[in-house]
Symmetry: none
Subunit: 326 residues, 2 copies
């Protein structure tokens, strides 16, 4: 246990404080000259239910300090998990942070950002001394909430949360003597999840007479086309599903693919219709699963699968290309 | 946006506040009579680095209010993810919360609990008015930190955090016009995770001349045997991999399966050796993945996949049987 406050290493002290997880907020107000100001803060917290009070603190060294101490109103926005860019933007000094941002009308007169997990419109109640920070306590005069999973900050980085639960199993857990193969084996869980999920759209695939290999090819070409047969094989190779010229020719013969040039494949109108039909079924199944799993848990599952994919990536060709219109 | 503060529904207001994730702390002190007191609080936050200040708030209606307002010192414990029971214990009124608890010696004189993610020993600096709560601001006179993952509280329940991933494609996210098929589609992420994971053991399968279908059959029989051909097909049906009599006969001919009776299959010594070899490779790959993903993230991923499996379960026959020796 480190003692003697005067000598705390700020970096080490921050690391200890960082063990306390928080959400991430942006607090906004209008400066005396009417310009909008905003800062990213994770020092938010609820204080009182009746009267409804919340607090946050701002460094005395912050450029926007005067604006917040003189503004009678400010809005706190609890950021959603897809608002990292906005968090980073408002964490930087300077810049015109509000240019291009859509705002909602705000009874509190402070700028009101969109697409957050929750928002609180506040009137300053107290400003308290807090060392190198000022603690702002505000009365909440309006609030709203969405179903967007919140963004977190913990141990110095952005994070997501998922509800803690008891181990879930459809059957009692077995610890058989020799069993290397157990229901906790990640490979088993991934395979079973994948196959059961695909099982939910199998009837739709069958209706359209599509095999899983056909489905892979059509999905791929809905994102990138035209592609050569070797490019298609390269994208699909990791599945170990054989996509050879015979399969591609069969899809052409059935009118699902067309060949704009020799060895160049793209979806036909009929092929696009087929894949949109299957993908709509997959979307519907996904919506149904998320309904039972929870939005926050689904975001976390996607997050963890993406990390797993990047860890086990055998060097696949990129499927999605950069957006160029931003 | 709900307005008019006097009429907020407390439950709804709490739900909105609950979108802000927090850690969970226990704050302890000694009452005037020397008895230890402690409360669970998620209203903790850091305030200032220099001087080092933290704050938390306590309901004016709390039994222990007098103890905290008169104690000059208190300790804040950021709870680890396995301390839910302790969180619940200190959230209840009454009871001798400290009986049976091991305490560490504490320079601040307040009780110092063990096995937390971080601990802060504080001297009261300010006590501020906060509606139905008192805001305590303390100077940190000592602290320590462990590597234990912290417990979270969000949207009204305990939660765990995992670091947020980068996008899978390692390039900016694409929003193509029609794209129903995106890298956020759960089915895509499950499939790619599964195939890439299997890719890691494909060379081992190839070495042993095993197809994925062979692998499924041998794995299954390593858990349950002997099984009839229809029982085997029933277990594997969800994968849509065809396990017919021809495949089973081929495995018998290669000496990997034996038939204790007609239409009854079990692993031979050679079959058991083969499957143990492949499963050892899968275990090694899993250990490697978890090393990069993190233990906590791996536990969470397993948990979410199990929930997904139970949500999408088409009614598979049970694979593992209940443990009877516990």
């Amino acid at each position: 246990m480190a003692l003697a406050p005067q000598t705390f290493d700020p970096k080490d002290f921050r690391r200890a404080l960082g063990m306390f997880a928080t959400g991430v907020t942006i607090v906004t107000a209008h400066a005396a000259d009417g310009a909008p100001v905003g800062v990213t803060a994770n020092s938010f917290n609820s204080v009182s239910i009746s009267p409804p009070l919340v607090l946050w603190s701002l460094a005395k060294s912050a450029r926007s300090l005067d604006s917040f101490t003189s503004a009678g109103h400010w809005n706190v926005h609890i950021l959603a998990e897809d608002q990292v860019d906005m968090s980073n933007l408002f964490a930087r000094a300077g810049e015109d942070k509000f240019s291009g941002l859509q705002l909602d009308p705000s009874p509190s007169q402070a700028p009101l950002l969109q697409a957050c997990s929750a928002r609180f419109q506040c009137r300053t109640m107290f400003q308290y001394e807090g060392g190198d920070h000022i603690i702002f306590v505000g009365e909440v005069i309006g609030y709203d909430r969405s179903e967007r999973p919140p963004l977190l900050y913990v141990t110095g980085g952005y994070a997501l949360a998922a509800r803690k639960s008891e181990p879930v199993s459809t059957e009692p857990r077995a610890d058989t003597g020799s069993a290397l193969f157990s229901e906790d084996l990640l490979g088993y869980l991934l395979g079973r999840s994948h196959f059961q999920f695909v099982g939910g759209i199998r009837s739709t695939l069958n209706e359209r007479g599509l095999s899983e290999a056909d489905f892979f090819v059509l999905s791929l070409l809905s994102v990138q086309a035209p592609l050569s047969s070797s490019a298609i094989a390269g994208h699909v190779a990791y599945t170990a599903i054989d996509v050879g010229p015979v399969l591609l020719q069969a899809l052409c013969d059935r009118g699902l693919l067309e060949q704009p040039q020799a060895d160049s494949f793209a979806l036909s109108v009929r092929g696009r219709d087929a894949i949109l039909h299957v993908l709509a079924a997959a979307k519907a199944e996904e919506a149904d699963v998320i309904d039972q799993l929870g939005e926050m848990e689904a975001a976390m599952l996607r997050n963890l699968l993406k990390r797993l994919i990047s860890i086990t990536d055998p060097g696949l060709p990129k499927l999605w290309t950069a957006r160029t219109d931003s």
